[in-house]
Amino acid sequence: MNIAKLKIASFDFTCCEGCQLQLANRESTLSDFLELLDIRNFREILSEKHDDYDIALIEGSISRQDEVERLLKIREQAKVLVAFGTCACFGGINSLKNRFRMDETVREIYGDMAIETLPVKKISDVVKVDLSIPGCPVAKEEVERIIVSLATSSLVTLPKYPVCVECKQQLNTCLFDLGEICLGPITRAGCNAVCPTGKTACLGCRGPAEELNMPAFLELVRERKLSHSDLQEKLAFYNAFEPVATDET
């Protein structure tokens, strides 16, 4: 299979750059992976910059006006704009900031210094997104699979089912049985259930599974008498789910 290299660029916005870092992971296939790519712009590892890319990986969320403008420019150039990671797809943890007033937030950290900040937006709030790769951080294996699919012009898909499928395949003990709330039943799979496998609750970084059954999930938490505030903290963590009613009944 001989295929032209993908002209790709990677840009980071408000984020920890952990998703970009994943691109350099999985060392065993790294050189094969880089073979697929013609990297045109990638500040974190590359000094040269070119603006003739086709695919733009967008990492992070948007929280300042200059970022909005930079993003609009990228959209003009990119044929395929990829929301790369949970911050880009849903706003991610950065959105936790939105619970507070922006001026107070700034004062708290910078005192009287003038610092600009906007309520956090996800990429699709600003420009059209062609492809989403969720994950905090993204799973390199999945990224690799998707990049190979793009290179061979195959269908790019994410699993539609929830994390529980992969969790059960790892023979984990369900966290609900250990008395914890886990967002596995409503979260899109594809991470190989890393968090439940490490025995910590899924916090939903990959966003909602397709046609998730939220009423049944809420009922489950209620029936097991688990903490509603814990549930809300978990649902809000990555800003990936619609807020749920606050009543404690």
């Binding site: 299979m1 061979t152 012009s153 195959s154 269908l155």
Partner: protein
């Protein structure tokens, strides 16, 4: 260090007798090769319409070519390495042992990739799978072939069979409906079918253009064509291929005319992953489309849950 007395020897599944095994797992091991495809070369590609192409395949290995046989109505799993495999009806004559013809519509992932390959490329086929049209049982009768859209593809194999054994059948009517005139497939064979094989061909389109109307082509639904034919219900069989919605109307109509349900045959389509009755993707009720079908008589279909 393992104690050699207690080490379980590894057992080769291709060996028939291994006295020490527990249950009897020896049955049917001659059919083990179901996951290995026959390699085929694409010898010819004909673009039929914007969305359909006719692929001509030749099995590379002469031995495999010699043993590959199928019956009209059966399908195979066509594999494009690197992309996946899809079920496709065999659209050529079952007596043609040199080539296979597959008429493929660009519908999704694998079929789109197939549209980018060129003549000379290699693909693999598994199969043939599934049930077939009972050609022998139908001999001596009038046959009503009814095709909607791509339904003409699976109908071509029985049609070839009929043409090759034309003297065994009475009247043959082929009713063929599509959305627009440009979607009519195999038009180059129409004349041959009508003139040489004495098949009465009736075509109809849903939306005719000026040229179509100029040639006095018919417009409307396929059921409109029933006015043009007379069916001797006692001596007729029907084969219906097309979208599920068409079955309902067509078979319903034929039922009312009085053709017994077990003399009407339809070909069903479901998503398939294995073609071998294992993945359970193609279940209709408790029936596998891939093994029990795709060809069913209408009575069976009526008794399947969720069939149409």
């Amino acid at each position: 260090m393992p104690d050699m007395r207690f080490v379980i020897p590894r057992q080769d599944i291709n060996r028939e007798n291994f006295a020490s095994s527990a249950p009897d797992f020896n049955r049917r091991s001659e059919m083990m090769n179901t996951d290995r495809g026959f390699k085929c070369r694409i010898t010819n590609i004909v673009r039929l319409t914007e969305h359909e192409k006719l692929f001509q395949l030749r099995i590379v290995d002469p031995l495999e070519r010699a043993i590959f046989r199928f019956k009209p109505g059966q399908f195979l799993m066509l594999e494009l390495p690197g992309y996946g495999d899809v079920p496709i009806s065999i659209s050529s004559s079952s007596t043609n042992h040199e080539f296979l013809e597959l008429c493929i519509r660009k519908a999704g992932h694998v079929t789109s990739a197939l549209f980018t390959v060129e003549e000379g490329a290699y693909v693999a086929i598994r199969g043939p799978f599934g049930s077939s049209f009972p050609m022998d049982e139908m001999a001596g009768h009038n046959i009503l072939l009814i095709a909607g859209g791509l339904g003409i593809a699976p109908l071509r194999a029985p049609l070839f069979w009929i043409n090759e054994h034309r003297d065994r059948f009475l009247d043959i009517n082929l009713l063929y409906g599509v959305k627009e005139p440009s979607q009519l497939l195999f038009t180059w064979q129409f004349e041959e079918w009508e003139m040489i094989n004495h098949i009465r061909l009736h075509t109809i389109v849903e939306h005719g253009d000026a040229e179509w109307r100029g040639k006095r082509g018919k417009t409307g639904m396929i059921t409109n064509l029933f006015n043009d034919i007379s069916v001797d219900v006692k001596k007729s069989y029907a084969i219906v291929c097309g979208p599920p919605i068409m079955f309902k109307f067509v078979c319903g109509y034929l039922d009312k005319l009085g053709i017994p349900m077990n003399r009407m045959f339809v070909s069903l389509e479901r998503r398939m992953h294995c073609g071998m009755g294992k993945c359970c993707r193609c279940m209709v009720g408790s029936t596998f489309t891939c093994i029990d079908g795709p060809v069913f008589d209408y009575w069976s279909v009526m008794n399947l849950k969720e069939a149409i």
